[in-house]
C-alpha cells in the first residue's frame, strides 16, 4: 500500500504548493471575482491557473520525452566505485534546458546512500556519483525527476539496469606517523626494507618526526637535518594475520584495513579475513573484495572470527591485528572472547572520519532552535569509552583518522 502510494505520488505531478495555488486561484476566478467584481485578482487568479496548467503539461511532456531518451541509454557505470571519491560515470541525460521552466534531477534508488551530482557537459548533464558505503550490487536503479523551476509540479520514474557493481571503501591516508611507526622496532616489521632488517641508522628528516630524534650535531656540521632511526627488531616476526570486524559506522575502519593491506603494512605473507568470509585472503586484491562483501555483516560483527581462525595454521596464529568499528556493540564481547580463547597477542585498530574530542553539548537555547549536527561522526562521543573498554581487556588500541592519516 505504501509502495503504491509512493509510486502514485511520483507519477502525480502536482505538489502541495500547486494544489494550494490551484485551489486559491480557482476560488478567486470562480467565486471571489464574480462576487466582488475584482478586476485585479481575477486576472491574477487566471495567471496562477495558467502557471499551474502550463507547468503540469510541460512536466508531463518533459517526463515522457526524458523517459524515451533514457530507455535507450546504456547503464554506463564503472565496475568499481570508491566511497567518498566523486566519480564521473559517463552517463549523460538531456538537460531539457530548452523547455525553459524544467529542471532534471537524478538519484540512485539502489544502491542507496549515493550522492549524485549532475554537471553540464556538451549541452547535456553528466552524472557524477559519490558513494558513502561499500557494498556489492547486481543491479542499479536510477530515479529521474523532472520538475518545474517554480517547484509546483514534479514527476519521476525509475529505470533499472542489471550490472555488477562493487563499491570499495576509500583507503585511509598514510601519514608520517604511520610511516615512522612501521619502522619502529616493535613486533611490526618494516615491509619496505629487507626482512632481516636494514643497516640504515639515520635518515632525512620528514614531517612528523619527533624533534628528540633529530641529530643536531650532524645538523651543526653539515646543515642536513637527519633523524635517528630506532633499531629494528633482531628477530623479525611479521604479523600477517588480520581480521576485519564489521559494525555500525565501520567505513573508516574498512578504509584503514584497506590501507594496511594495500600498503603492505601487514607484511608480504598476508592472511586477512573480513566478516562474511571464512577463507583467508592472501592478496591485497582478495582482501579488498572481502572488505566489500563484509558490508552485509554489520549486524553480525565478529561472529565468524572462530571459523576464520580455524582456517589458519595455529602456528601462525599467535598475534594478529583486529580492525574494529568505532561504535561499541555486541562485536566487542566476541572479539575479546576470541582473543582470550586463542591467547593471542592482538592489537586493535579503529578507523574514524572525525578527529578530536567531541564538542561540548549545546546550550538549552541552541538545542531548542537547532538539531544536532548530522555530519558529526556518531562514533565520537562513545569512542573514548570504547577505547578504554578494549584497553581494559588488555588490547592495545590505535585510532586512525582516515582523511589525514593521523594516529592517536
Amino acid at each position: 500500500m505504501r509502495r503504491l502510494f509512493d509510486r502514485l505520488r511520483r507519477v502525480f505531478p502536482l505538489r502541495a504548493g500547486a494544489l494550494i495555488l490551484l485551489a486559491a486561484a480557482a476560488a478567486l476566478v470562480f467565486l471571489w471575482a464574480p462576487k466582488e467584481a475584482d478586476f485585479l485578482l481575477y486576472p491574477a487568479g487566471l495567471v496562477a491557473l495558467l502557471l499551474v496548467v502550463v507547468c503540469t503539461v510541460l512536466v508531463v511532456l518533459g517526463t515522457w520525452s526524458l523517459r524515451r531518451t533514457v530507455k535507450a541509454l546504456a547503464v554506463s557505470v564503472p565496475e568499481r566505485l570508491e566511497t567518498t571519491r566523486p566519480t564521473g560515470t559517463g552517463f549523460r541525460i538531456p538537460s531539457l534546458s530548452r523547455w525553459l521552466v524544467l529542471d532534471v534531477g537524478l538519484s540512485w534508488v539502489e544502491p542507496l546512500g549515493l550522492e549524485v551530482r549532475l554537471e553540464p557537459l556538451d549541452g547535456q548533464l553528466a552524472e557524477v556519483v559519490t558513494a558513502k558505503e561499500r557494498g556489492r550490487y547486481t543491479r542499479i536503479v536510477r530515479r529521474f525527476t523532472v520538475e518545474d523551476v517554480f517547484g509546483l509540479t514534479r514527476s519521476s520514474f525509475d529505470v533499472e539496469w542489471t550490472v555488477a557493481l562493487a563499491i570499495t571503501p576509500a583507503s585511509a591516508k598514510q601519514g608520517a606517523q604511520l610511516a615512522a611507526g612501521r619502522s619502529q622496532g616493535e613486533t611490526l616489521a618494516n615491509p619496505a626494507g629487507r626482512a632481516e632488517g636494514d643497516l640504515v641508522e639515520m635518515r632525512q628528516y620528514a614531517y612528523g618526526d619527533s624533534m628528540r630524534h633529530v641529530l643536531w650535531k650532524v645538523y651543526a656540521r653539515s646543515r642536513k637535518l637527519l633523524v635517528r632511526m630506532p633499531e629494528r627488531a633482531l628477530a623479525p616476526g611479521p604479523i600477517s594475520v588480520a581480521f576485519f570486524v564489521a559494525g555500525v559506522d565501520d567505513e573508516a575502519s574498512a578504509g584503514a584495513a584497506r590501507l594496511y593491506v594495500e600498503a603492505g603494512l601487514l607484511g608480504a605473507d598476508l592472511l586477512f579475513t573480513a566478516d562474511g568470509s571464512v577463507v583467508p585472503a592472501r592478496s591485497a586484491r582478495d582482501a579488498v573484495e572481502q572488505l566489500v562483501d563484509s558490508a552485509t555483516q554489520r549486524g553480525r560483527g565478529g561472529e565468524a572470527l572462530d571459523a576464520a581462525a580455524a582456517q589458519i595454521d595455529p602456528g601462525r596464529l599467535t598475534s594478529c591485528v583486529l580492525f574494529v568499528p568505532p561504535v561499541d556493540g555486541a562485536w566487542r564481547e566476541r572479539v575479546v572472547g576470541f582473543v582470550r580463547k586463542h591467547s593471542l597477542s592482538a592489537s586493535v585498530i579503529i578507523g574514524v572520519d572525525e578527529v578530536g574530542e567531541a564538542p561540548a553539548p549545546p546550550s538549552r537555547l541552541n538545542s531548542f532552535l537547532f538539531q544536532p549536527d548530522a555530519t558529526l561522526d556518531t562514533a565520537r562521543p562513545s569512542l573514548k569509552a570504547l577505547r578504554a573498554a578494549l584497553e581494559a581487556e588488555g588490547l592495545p588500541v590505535k585510532v586512525l583518522h582516515r582523511t589525514t592519516g593521523q594516529i592517536s
Binding site: 504548493g17 467584481a37 502557471l51 517547484g151
Partner: protein, 690 residues
C-alpha cells in the same frame, strides 16, 4: 535537484524587496511613517537572517514559536509604553508604539514564514499570496463595480482614454508574475525568460478571457431578487430590500439613463415581473399568456418588443430611459410601466451585459386623488376577474379585511380606493419592517406574517396587501423589480440601481387608470436609513454608458493607441522576417562550389535538428559526437579541414561533395520523420551554425 536547496543571494535580495513592497502596500493606509519604516526594516532583516539560517539544521516549529514570541513581544512592549509612557509626548508614544508593534510583528512573522518556505516549498505559495493580496488590497476600492475608485487610477486612465479595468488587470498580471519570483530558488537567464513568458501569457489570457461579472442575484422563496447573495455569517440580510447592515458597499447592477426630466416621485419603481396567479398559498407568474400581457417578458432581439398597456394616457406621462445592465437578468426591467423595449448598441461589452431603450408610462397622479373610482372594470370577463381576485382558502383574509374596511370614514363606505387605502394604512401602521425574520420563509409565509406579529420585509407586505385587497374584490398583483429612492441619489440624469434595492410591491387595478403602484411603507422598521448613493460612481457609470468616460476632463487629449496598425505592422514584420529566414536557409542549403559552402550546408542540416556545434567544441569533437547518427560526417570534417589547411586538390573536393551527400543520406535514414519535418520547418537553425 538543482532547484531545491538554498535560495541564491540574488533571489534572496529580490524576495526581500518584494516582501517589503507588499508590507508597504498593505500598511500604507493604516501605519505611521515610523511604523512603516520599522515594518520594512523588520521584513528585510527577517528575510536576510532566514537566508543565513537556511543552511543550518533548524527545528522549524521552534523557530515558528520564536517568531510568534517576537511578534507578541512587540505588542507587549507597545502596551507597556502606552501604559507607562505618560511622561512622553503623545505623538512620540503613538509613533514609537506603532514602530514597536509593526517592526517586531513583521520580523517575527516573516522570519517564521521564510524559514518554513525554505524547508517546505508549499509555504512559498503563502508568500506569493501575501504579495498579490497586498497589491489587491491597495486597489480594493474598485470592487463591486465602483469603477471610479481608486480615484488616482481611474482619473489617470480615463484622462488617457483607457478604461480602468485593463489597467487593473495588467496590475494583477504583473503582481502575479513578479510574485512567482518567490517560488524560485535560483535566478538564471532562462528562469527570467519563463517569468516574461508568464507575464505575456497572462496578458494573452486577459485579451481572450472575459472580465469577471457579478453573480446574478438569487431569488428568495417568495420570489424577490437582490439581497440573497449577501450571506455573510455576520450579515443576516435575507431577501427584501434596502438593507444597509452589510459592511460591503452595495453592488450596482444597472444604470438607467433618463432622457427626460426625472418625474416628481419619492421612488422610482423598475418593474421586472409580476405575479398574479394563485398556486396553493402563494402567487406565481402566469404562464398561460392570457393575463399580465402588459408586462414584457422577452428580450428584443433585433426588433423592439411592444406590449399593449392598459394604462390610461391622461394619468401618465411618457418617459424614455436607456437601461445598461451590469449583471445578467433573466427578465428585463424598466421604470414605470414599460410599453416598448428596443435593443440598443452596447457601448462597452466588457462592462455592460445588455443595453436597451425603454419607452414607458409613468403615473403622475397619486392614488389618493383617485377616490370615487371603482377598481374592477365592468368589461373584464369572469375568468379575468377570478384570476386577479383569487386568494388562499383561508377565511381569516376576508375576516381581517372586513375588519379593516369597517373603520373607514362613513362618507367613503363602499369606495374601492378608500378600502385599498385603509388596508395600506393598516399594514403600514401595524407592520414592522425587518429583514431578520427568517422564520417567515416556509409553509404559507404570508399567513404566518399577516396573522402573526406582522414582522417581515417587502415580499411579505406585498403579498399580504394583495391578498387583503383581493379579499375585498379588488384586482391586485405583486410586482417584482427594483425600487430606487430618489432622495438618496444625485442630481444627474443617470440612475444607479443597486442589488440591495431589489423590491416587491403590490399593484392595484383602478378602472379608467390602469395598474397603480401601491407600495406599502411600514412606519416601524429596524433597518437603518439607506445611505446616499455615491454620486461619483453614478455619474461615472452614466458617462460610460453614454461613451463619455472622460466626463469633465474633455480638454485632455485622449491617448489613442492604434492597435490595428501596430498589429498589422507586427504581423507584416514577423512574416517578412520568417520569409527572409527561409530564403537564407534554402540559399545556404544549396551549398555548391566551395568545399566550405558544402560543409556549411551539412552543418545547417545538423543545426536544424538541434545538433549545432557547442561553444568551445572543436570541429573534430563535434563530428565524433555525431558519428553515431552520420558516420560519414567524421571523414567529411577531416576532408574539409584538410582542404582548409591548404591541401587543395580536385580529388579532395570531389571527396567532400561525395561525403556530404553520404552524410545527408545517413542522417535521413537515422532520423525520425517527425524530427526531419521539424528540421525542415525550422527557420532559424542556420543561425546556430558555428
Amino acid at each position: 535537484m538543482s532547484t531545491l536547496g538554498r535560495d541564491s543571494g540574488r533571489v534572496t535580495v529580490l524576495k526581500a524587496l518584494l516582501l517589503s513592497a507588499s508590507v508597504l502596500l498593505a500598511l500604507w493606509s493604516i501605519a505611521t511613517p515610523p511604523g512603516l519604516l520599522a515594518a520594512v526594516a523588520g521584513t528585510l532583516f527577517a528575510t536576510f537572517l532566514a537566508h543565513r539560517l537556511e543552511a543550518a539544521r533548524l527545528r522549524i516549529l521552534n523557530w515558528v514559536v520564536l517568531g510568534v514570541g517576537i511578534a507578541l513581544t512587540g505588542q507587549l512592549a507597545a502596551r507597556l509604553l502606552s501604559a507607562f509612557g505618560s511622561f512622553l509626548p503623545p505623538w512620540f508614544t503613538l509613533m514609537f508604539a506603532d514602530a514597536l508593534v509593526l517592526g517586531f510583528t513583521c520580523f517575527g512573522f516573516f522570519l517564521a514564514l521564510r524559514l518554513c518556505s525554505s524547508r517546505w516549498r508549499a509555504f512559498s505559495v503563502v508568500e506569493l499570496a501575501l504579495v498579490v493580496f497586498s497589491v489587491a488590497h491597495a486597489f480594493a476600492d474598485h470592487r463591486h463595480m465602483r469603477i471610479h475608485q481608486p480615484r488616482f487610477l481611474s482619473d489617470w486612465a480615463w484622462s488617457h482614454g483607457v478604461e480602468p479595468e485593463p489597467v487593473l488587470a495588467v496590475l494583477g498580471v504583473t503582481a502575479m508574475a513578479l510574485s512567482a519570483l518567490l517560488l524560485l530558488r535560483v535566478s538564471r537567464a532562462r528562469r527570467l525568460v519563463s517569468m516574461a513568458l508568464l507575464f505575456l501569457g497572462g496578458i494573452l489570457v486577459l485579451l481572450v478571457g472575459e472580465p469577471p461579472r457579478l453573480d446574478v442575484p438569487k431569488e428568495d422563496e417568495l420570489g424577490v431578487r437582490g439581497n440573497e447573495n449577501k450571506d455573510d455569517k455576520d450579515n443576516k440580510n435575507k431577501g427584501g430590500s434596502n438593507s444597509n447592515k452589510s459592511n460591503k458597499p452595495p453592488e450596482p447592477i444597472a444604470v438607467a439613463v433618463l432622457h427626460d426630466d426625472l418625474p416628481d416621485s419619492d421612488a422610482l419603481y423598475f418593474r421586472q415581473a409580476v405575479r398574479s396567479k394563485l398556486v396553493g398559498d402563494r402567487l406565481v407568474e402566469d404562464g398561460s399568456g392570457a393575463f399580465d400581457t402588459d408586462v414584457p417578458t422577452r428580450f428584443p432581439a433585433g426588433s423592439p418588443v411592444q406590449v399593449t398597456l392598459t394604462q390610461a394616457a391622461e394619468f401618465h406621462r411618457r418617459l424614455r430611459t436607456s437601461m445598461y445592465l451590469l449583471v445578467d437578468h433573466a427578465q428585463l426591467f424598466g421604470v414605470g410601466f414599460p410599453e416598448e423595449i428596443a435593443p440598443l448598441s452596447n457601448p462597452n461589452p466588457r462592462r455592460f451585459v445588455a443595453a436597451y431603450d425603454v419607452n414607458s408610462l409613468f403615473l403622475t397622479r397619486p392614488v389618493e386623488r383617485m377616490l370615487g373610482r371603482s377598481s374592477m372594470p365592468p368589461e373584464w370577463p369572469e375568468e379575468q376577474r377570478a384570476h386577479y381576485t383569487a386568494i388562499p382558502p383561508d377565511p381569516r383574509y376576508t375576516e381581517l379585511s372586513e375588519r379593516i374596511v369597517r373603520d373607514v370614514d362613513p362618507r367613503f363606505v363602499g369606495d374601492d380606493i378608500m378600502k385599498a387605502l385603509a388596508i395600506k394604512q393598516y399594514l403600514e401602521k401595524e407592520g414592522f419592517y425587518s429583514l431578520e425574520e427568517k422564520t417567515l420563509v416556509g409553509d404559507d409565509p404570508v399567513a404566518q406574517f399577516l396573522f402573526g406579529d406582522l414582522r417581515g420585509y417587502c415580499v411579505h407586505f406585498a403579498h399580504a396587501a394583495v391578498f387583503l385587497l383581493r379579499s375585498q374584490g379588488l384586482p391586485a398583483r405583486v410586482a417584482i423589480g427594483y425600487g430606487v429612492q430618489t432622495q438618496q441619489r444625485g442630481a444627474g440624469s443617470a440612475v444607479l440601481i443597486f442589488a440591495n434595492e431589489a423590491h416587491a410591491w403590490p399593484e392595484l387595478y383602478v378602472d379608467g387608470v390602469g395598474w397603480v403602484t401601491f407600495d406599502i411603507m411600514p412606519e416601524h422598521s429596524d433597518e437603518p436609513p439607506a445611505p446616499h448613493v455615491d454620486q461619483d460612481l453614478e455619474s461615472a457609470l452614466g458617462e460610460l454608458a453614454r461613451k463619455d468616460p472622460a466626463g469633465t476632463l474633455e480638454d485632455t487629449a485622449p491617448l489613442v493607441i492604434p492597435w490595428e496598425l501596430i498589429g498589422f505592422i507586427t504581423v507584416t514584420l514577423a512574416g517578412l522576417a520568417l520569409a527572409g529566414a527561409f530564403v537564407v536557409k534554402f540559399w545556404r542549403r544549396l551549398g555548391r562550389g566551395s568545399h566550405r559552402l558544402v560543409y556549411r550546408s551539412v552543418l545547417d542540416v545538423f543545426s536544424d535538428l538541434g545538433q549545432a556545434r557547442h561553444p568551445g567544441e572543436s570541429r573534430e569533437r563535434h563530428a565524433h559526437r555525431l558519428a553515431e547518427r552520420a558516420p560519414s560526417f567524421v571523414p567529411l570534417t577531416s576532408a574539409h579541414l584538410r582542404l582548409t589547411l591548404g591541401h587543395d586538390d580536385p580529388e579532395s573536393r570531389a571527396q567532400v561533395e561525395a561525403l556530404a551527400k553520404a552524410t545527408r543520406a545517413e542522417l535521413r535514414a537515422r532520423t525520425s520523420l517527425l524530427a526531419r519535418i521539424g528540421g525542415l520547418f525550422n527557420p532559424v537553425g542556420w543561425w546556430f551554425t558555428r
